[in-house]
């Protein structure tokens, strides 16, 4: 059966043994973890070779959620692809929307007005909080602390309520358009966000009390799966996973976009690069995000919330479409043919909760991209697993996976 055994067949563990890959030894074991396993956060599959409890080889198998996003992008206009970006990193859809819109606007050499930029920063940071809350809760759940999960989910529900008021959906938001956002902020919404921030920080402290000095949590995370600076850079890690290894690299600081240079915030970095550092970095990032959110609320500029002069790119608001001939034609052209882009190629990366989400767009002009490559942070982060997991105990693999906080929708795109 060796030849016929395919990737997904459960038989291939047996077939590997029967092929004689290593003598059949009482302490050696091949373990297939996933693709349906509570701690693999989706459909990741790990092929582990174990020597007793120790992992001697770890081979991640990804692609179980490969949906063909890049091919889909080549078949539709730029705006039509926005909903698909929601479902890349489905823990922070708003941040993906913003990253994608910025990439296409870079292609069009289009600058959006300050209010639009501020809204985008605001929603990106809110989704960063939401994503890290999920990562934190799931991580705690993975290594046995259920309470934190319930706490963080309560807060996430509050964020979802805010997102719903803003975009009309809980988390498949599709909020940005090329050249702006779908709609302006609803009245009184900023006040609600401010109120959320006020009550959120004490909850964060509660979670902190539950975990940070918790003996069991420390034992499961401290010194587990350390990643050196060189490895982190070599394997293209980005986001909190990179910074936990002590590399102070944050695109919001390094190549500021969407007006991030106007806000004050710190970039937390770790010292050892172990699971505990990755947890701490995420924790502190939430506090910094709240700091940014407060600054944005205080300095929210007035004015238009979409690029009014970009008539071939941003479809005008509905009330104008219904009353003015010119806007009606403009709307029709954009809906049928897509926003008109120049030919050329651009690469843009945004600092998403999971790391640097990049879009490489090759355009031949017109409303449809010729090629759109998604550089997904989770994909790159996971590629270091074979190196890090080797030598870990089997229980540490669970801890390691949780600390990476990856999303398969984005990894497999």
């Amino acid at each position: 059966m060796a030849k016929e055994a395919t990737e997904v067949s459960y038989g291939d563990v047996l077939s590997r043994v029967s092929r004689g890959e290593g003598e059949l030894q009482p302490d050696r074991m091949a373990l297939s973890m996933g693709p349906s396993h509570p701690s693999t956060h989706g459909v990741l599959r790990l092929m582990l070779d174990l020597d007793g409890e120790t992992v001697t080889r770890c081979e991640p198998v990804v692609g179980y959620l490969h949906r063909g996003d890049e091919k889909i992008a080549e078949n539709m206009t730029y705006n039509q692809f926005v909903p698909y970006t929601d479902r890349l990193d489905y823990l922070a859809p708003l941040a993906n929307n913003v990253a994608y819109a910025l990439a296409v606007e870079k292609l069009a050499a289009l600058e959006v007005p300050p209010r639009c930029q501020a809204i985008r920063v605001l929603v990106s940071e809110m989704s960063r909080v939401s994503s890290h809350l999920m990562g934190l809760g799931a991580y705690a759940l993975d290594i046995g602390a259920m309470t934190v999960f319930l706490y963080t989910f309560t807060e996430r529900e509050k964020l979802y309520t805010l997102f719903e008021e803003l975009t009309g959906a809980r988390f498949t938001t599709s909020y940005t358009r090329i050249g702006g956002v779908a709609r302006d902020l609803p009245g009184g919404w900023l006040g609600k966000v401010d109120k959320f921030c006020d009550q959120f920080l004490p909850v964060l402290d509660d979670c902190n009390d539950l975990l940070t000095r918790n003996r069991i949590f420390l034992d499961r995370t401290e010194g587990v799966a350390e990643i050196s600076k060189e490895d982190a850079i070599g394997y293209g890690l980005t986001g909190p996973n990179l910074r936990a290894s002590g590399v102070p690299s944050d695109l919001r600081k390094d190549c500021p976009y969407s007006g991030y240079e106007h806000y004050e915030f710190d970039v937390p970095i770790g010292a050892r690069g172990d699971c505990y550092d990755r947890y701490l970095v995420r924790f502190e990032e939430m506090r910094q995000s709240i700091r940014i959110i407060r600054q944005v609320i205080q300095s929210m500029p007035d004015g238009p919330w979409y690029a009014e002069e970009a008539k071939k790119i941003f479809a005008p608001p509905k009330d104008k479409v219904m009353t003015s001939m010119e806007e009606l034609i403009q709307n029709f052209m954009i809906v049928t043919q897509g926003p008109q882009m120049p030919a050329g190629e651009v690469y843009f990366e945004a600092e998403n909760p999971k790391g640097a989400l990049g879009f490489y767009i090759v355009s031949k002009g017109g409303g449809v991209p010729y090629r759109l490559k998604i550089r997904s942070p989770s994909f790159c982060n996971l590629s270091i697993l074979p190196k890090v997991a080797r030598g870990c105990m089997i229980g540490d693999v669970v801890s390691l996976l949780g600390s990476f906080d990856f999303v398969m929708g984005e990894c497999d795109s």
Binding site: E7, P35, G42, G68, I72, Y84, F171
Partner: protein, 179 residues
Amino acid sequence: MAEQKHELAYDTKIEGDIVVTRADAAINWIRSHSMWPMPMGLACCAIELMAAASSRFDIARFGAEVMRFSPRQADVMIVAGTVTYKMAPAVRRIYDQMAAPRWVIAMGACASTGGMYRSYAVMQGVDRIVPVDVYVSGCPPRPEALLDGLLKLQKKVAGERSVQQLRVPESAQAPHSSL
């Protein structure tokens, strides 16, 4: 043991410690109110599935909070998310490992029909490989929608002829559960 003073009759009133009812009704009542889900969390819908299980929506109100990642302990598989062709055989194998009686909820557009992913890699509906009892619409469905789907399934289970089906038909036996 029933005491002598109570008389047995065709009556659903509770008399002492005896309830008289149809076996089907009793079995279905038990089954439908302790559905243990197997959360087949594949994509975005899994997040809403988790939201349904956590504090605000609290799926425990409907007796389905016991999420079992082992298919052997589960009654209903909630397929939450996009089923790709690469994943589909694994879904089927997990379904095969579930003990009868078993049910399937296809949660969301992707699991029901392929949804917005009409592409080379996505199976156009999980019902091509497993029988689906309840389809929940939405992309993703709100937790309330999932709860509604669960109630619909409970209603469906309540109408099943469980005593007749106690003998498992051969088609429902799991051929792949050897490993």
